[in-house]
Amino acid sequence: MLSRLKLAWRRNRMMTAAFVFAVFLALMFAVRSVVFVVYWSDPDHRDQRLETWMTPRYIARSWHLPDDIILSALGLEGMPGRRLTIEEIARAKGVPVQELEARIVAAAQQYRSRTQ
């Protein structure tokens, strides 16, 4: 096998190099897949961190909370609250994103302590 590879290398460098590179890539992706499966199978890693791209409904769904808990934490009761990201809401309200995130976390904790 190795001697064949050596002979192939002498006869056709480009193809042999491409082959070795493809094998290397495949191995790298295999290792990364395993690493990610292990990483994500830890329940601590599963709760999604708040990100600025998230919408109120998305957060509600992601954290298993009713929509209006998040909407009222953001002062958006009665507003459609659709398709606006946390970042856009912060900009519209003129408050820092961190403040909105803190309000969401607080509302989520309060709701969970009430229902448990």
Partner: protein, 200 residues
């Protein structure tokens, strides 16, 4: 960049998803699978419509495939000019054409979803090797159904863990594509490494 693109999904939703699947069929490195997963997730939360998200992704992908194929067709003329210069090149192109005619359809189909990182190159190569347009269109359109359904479906059903889904799916698809290339090249290389193999 991923973060910025993600924040555009709720705002520009369908247009963004269509644009990204279009570009990814032309070998432009945009995170199309992540955005399809995100589209599915926003559909699950009620921010986007699932049918519209799927349709937008599909329209972008099909248009991208056609564009890539057309670019390959343009390149065909250039290749023909190159061929006139050398017998060796002509022989290589003949081989490529024969392979495309024999295995092209299944290659196009599988490179839409199972080996999706190879898709854009197959578009160019398919056009350049004179693969029949109707067969290309049929198999590409069928394969994109699987691709779009898989990723938006993953996003919809795993909407609370889209990063996880995108990470794992991305790596598995990278593994399959690199593995398929390694198999094809390996067969060729090992054959040419045989002691009695003719021609250098």
């Amino acid at each position: 960049m991923t973060e910025t693109l993600m924040s555009l999904v709720p705002t520009y939703g369908l247009w963004l998803i269509a644009a990204v699947t279009f570009l990814s069929c032309l070998a432009i490195p945009v995170p199309s699978s992540l955005l399809m997963v995100a589209g599915g997730a926003f559909a699950a939360s009620g921010d986007l419509s699932l049918a519209a998200t799927g349709t937008a992704a599909y329209a972008g992908a099909v248009a991208g495939d056609q564009t890539g194929f057309a670019i390959g067709r343009k390149g065909q003329r250039w290749l023909e000019k190159m061929e006139r210069g050398s017998d060796q090149r002509r022989a290589l192109m003949e081989k490529a054409r024969a392979f495309a005619a024999r295995r092209g359809a299944i290659g196009v189909f599988l490179s839409r979803w199972l080996l999706s990182p190879l898709g854009p190159y197959i578009n160019f190569i398919g056009g350049a090797t004179g693969l029949s347009w109707s067969s290309f269109t049929l198999w590409a359109a069928a394969g994109e159904v699987v691709w779009v359904t898989t990723y938006t479906g993953l996003g919809y059903f795993f909407s609370t863990q889209i990063e996880m889904v995108a990470d794992i799916a991305g790596n598995i698809s990278g593994f399959l594509a690199a593995g398929a290339v390694a198999l094809v090249l390996g067969r060729y290389v090992l054959r040419s490494g045989r002691e009695n193999a003719d021609s250098p």
